[in-house]
């Protein structure tokens, strides 16, 4: 994690340098609508069949360096180990803004290295079909019936994206999430909250890798 952070700091310095070296000339930059999908979740599903995560991305440039973003997705999570089984299903939405730290003259709507800020809302249903605990008196088994919860979280999401074909981009995003409200109470916290991750932890990192299709919808002059 420390290395990833260091890598990101380097990227931001590079982005800042781009920004500082920009010349005062007028250029026309395309403003875009972007629609994308995460491929990290589906790829992970082939490695671990117990977790299916599907996630989509939608953004609209509001100026040359900012875009409003909506991300939504679905999680089907099953976890099993020797002393309990757990399952959760649910959807989530994340709303926020992406700030591109590359100067518009260099970015030209094709390159992004910046940070996003998000508010996340997750609605999920979880249950514990089986758990077991042993002590001096022997083993006691139990279960917790299905119940629906609503969780809230915020996140900072530094990332990189580049256009590899005309209007077609690839990029990855590191998710640094803080749980505001788990919706589950303090005793039966969620092992996984859709869009957030491990509900026992108040901080959760994550990663997404997006394929994005861009649609230019207007042009804007940049000094």
């Amino acid at each position: 994690m420390r290395r990833i952070s260091a890598y990101f700091i380097n990227l931001l310095i590079v982005a800042w340098t781009f920004s500082a070296n920009a010349q005062d000339s007028i250029i026309v930059m395309p403003m875009k609508i972007r629609i994308g999908a995460d491929v990290y979740g589906p790829v992970s599903y082939f490695i671990n069949k117990n977790t299916l995560s599907i996630e989509g991305y939608f953004s609209i440039d509001i100026d040359t360096q900012k875009a409003v973003v909506a991300e939504t997705g679905y999680l089907d999570f099953r976890y099993s180990q020797y002393n309990y089984n757990y399952q959760t299903k649910g959807t989530f939405i994340r709303l926020g803004v992406d700030f591109n730290l590359i100067h518009p003259e260099k970015a030209m709507g094709k390159y992004y290295a910046g940070i996003g800020l998000r508010y996340g809302l997750s609605i999920f249903r979880s249950d514990v079909p089986f758990f077991e605990q042993s002590n001096y008196w022997g083993s006691v088994t139990g279960s917790i019936p299905p119940s629906t919860h609503v969780a809230h979280f915020i996140e900072a999401s530094p990332g990189i994206r580049t256009e590899i074909f005309r209007n077609f981009s690839m990029g990855w995003v590191i998710r640094l999430r803080i749980l505001i409200y788990s919706g589950t109470g303090k005793d039966n916290k969620a092992v996984s909250i859709p869009g957030y991750g491990n509900g026992v932890k108040s901080f959760n990192p994550g990663i997404n890798y997006y394929l994005i299709w861009s649609i230019p919808y207007k042009s804007q002059k940049v000094k």
């Binding site: 990290y40 790829v43 992970s44 490695i47 671990n48 976890y79 180990q81 002393n83 309990y84 514990v128 758990f131 605990q133 002590n135 001096y136 008196w137 022997g138 006691v140 139990g142 917790i144 580049t162 590899i164 074909f165 690839m170 990855w172 005793d187 039966n188 916290k189 092992v191 491990n198 026992v200 990663i207 890798y209």
Partner: protein
Amino acid sequence: MKYYSLRYILPVILIMILFSSISCTPQACQEETHSLIKATFYINGTNIVKAPDSLTVYGLGRDTARIYNKSLSIKIAQIPLDASTGTCGYVFRLNGITDTLTFSYSTYPHLVSKECGFTYYHILDSYTVTGRAIDTIIIRNKNITTINEENIRIFY
């Protein structure tokens, strides 16, 4: 096109494999998972903590499985409750004198962590004690959890 594809796709595949392997690796359970009554021994009528010269504790009807067996220097006894019932009895032998102590409580599940799974927490309702060794019991904290804090004081 080929150059761009390899340049961007290869690092990503490596990152994905790295993260997937990390997230799929089972982590060891590091947290405490047993909820125990933490009972501190005090000299009767004082605030002085003193370990009994000898302490034997076992569950009623389970005299072959001792929680403590003639143990020395036990200032804080840790006593497990039975999650399958609301009442639990123990034989306490302090300095050779035998008492019977019974706790009444309620039980509920608690998730410790993803790695450790669930345990049972308890809320202590009441107790009864018979015998001559224990003079008084004070319930300091009725929530019996995995946290290391004093629940009852036993004056003897």
